[in-house]
Symmetry: C3
Subunit: 138 residues, 3 copies
């Protein structure tokens, strides 16, 4: 069994969902592990990792609008010194995910047909987001 680790960087430019399935597949391909597991960790507390429908942009906009309404920016938060989008970002992160484990077979991520891996950015300003990928297999 082999182990490969790598840190990716993703630039975000405001709230929304950013697909990173291809970048993760690329790392799997390059490290030549053909069968095993990749785990992905988003190393932040104001953005999330999530699986999502990757074909219909309207579905992603509906998801984003749902979270805007469920965790509003104008609620009365105690922690409000980093701007109105800061505290909602931490709550949205807790409601979604930080890590996922995805199988690899024949050198390919074993995702469903419509399943993509996304970074879910909850902050308005541009950010450089770090994603840590660990691949275990043979």
């Amino acid at each position: 069994m082999k182990l490969h680790q790598e840190q990716l960087e993703l630039r975000t430019h405001g709230k929304g969902t950013y697909e990173m399935t291809d970048q993760i597949q690329e790392r799997v391909t390059k490290c030549k592990i053909r069968r095993g597991l990749v785990t992905v960790l988003v190393q932040h507390t104001s953005c999330s990792l999530t699986m999502m429908e990757n074909a219909a942009p309207a579905a992603r906009r509906d998801v984003e609008r749902f979270f805007d309404k469920l965790v509003p920016e104008d609620a009365d938060y105690e922690h409000d010194d980093e701007g109105p989008d800061d505290m909602p970002s931490h709550i949205r992160m807790v409601l979604t995910r930080s890590s996922e484990a995805i199988p690899i077979a024949d050198g390919k991520l074993q995702l469903g047909t419509w399943q993509g891996i996304f970074l879910f950015e909850h902050r308005r300003d541009p950010h450089r987001r770090r994603i840590y990928v660990t691949i275990i297999g043979e």
Copy 2:
């Protein structure tokens, strides 16, 4: 260290929670890995993976009712061409989980006393759901 991978299929017949702890334990037992880790991925974006209380059916009905209310079918979604239960299914999936990692010791899943592994179906129609199991250990 050994690696075993397998795809399960689960048939669902409408919205609700379907326990699959026994099916996953069965795969662990058959592959003869006695100590390690099993990761489970639900390969869909309109149903979820979740841990849940496995003793009280009333508790599961309360969870299901909570999600029906939190993510209603009659909200005004932009993506609505696949029926009223489609867009809520994607949002409920984002609010819950796609993958989990569960330890194995003495050949058994190391779950808590009341902890079961469930597929959480968010669509009304019957579906064949694919679950990918990766077992790493010795």
Copy 3:
């Protein structure tokens, strides 16, 4: 590749978030696996595992208040024989997480600067909570 497994116990004294990053790092250090993956499972259905902002206590209180409001204790639950905080605890668990996978490099958990691993206790009474740690690596 080596495998190390250990069960931790954490005592909670009422609802709230309890950081356990240091206890998990300590297990990683002791087992001498320098590079790999640690997976953490909370073996309960009435408390959760979550990543969270670990610097600002006010941010954690906001998260806790958000969940108190989103999943209220005084809603009309069918499963209510274990007290008003029981059913909300199961729903809050489903909305958050049970397991996470965190990379290890140079013997250290590869978390982001403000990222901590927390147990999110949803019950009022004191509890002994069991957390199962699996470390795979070299």
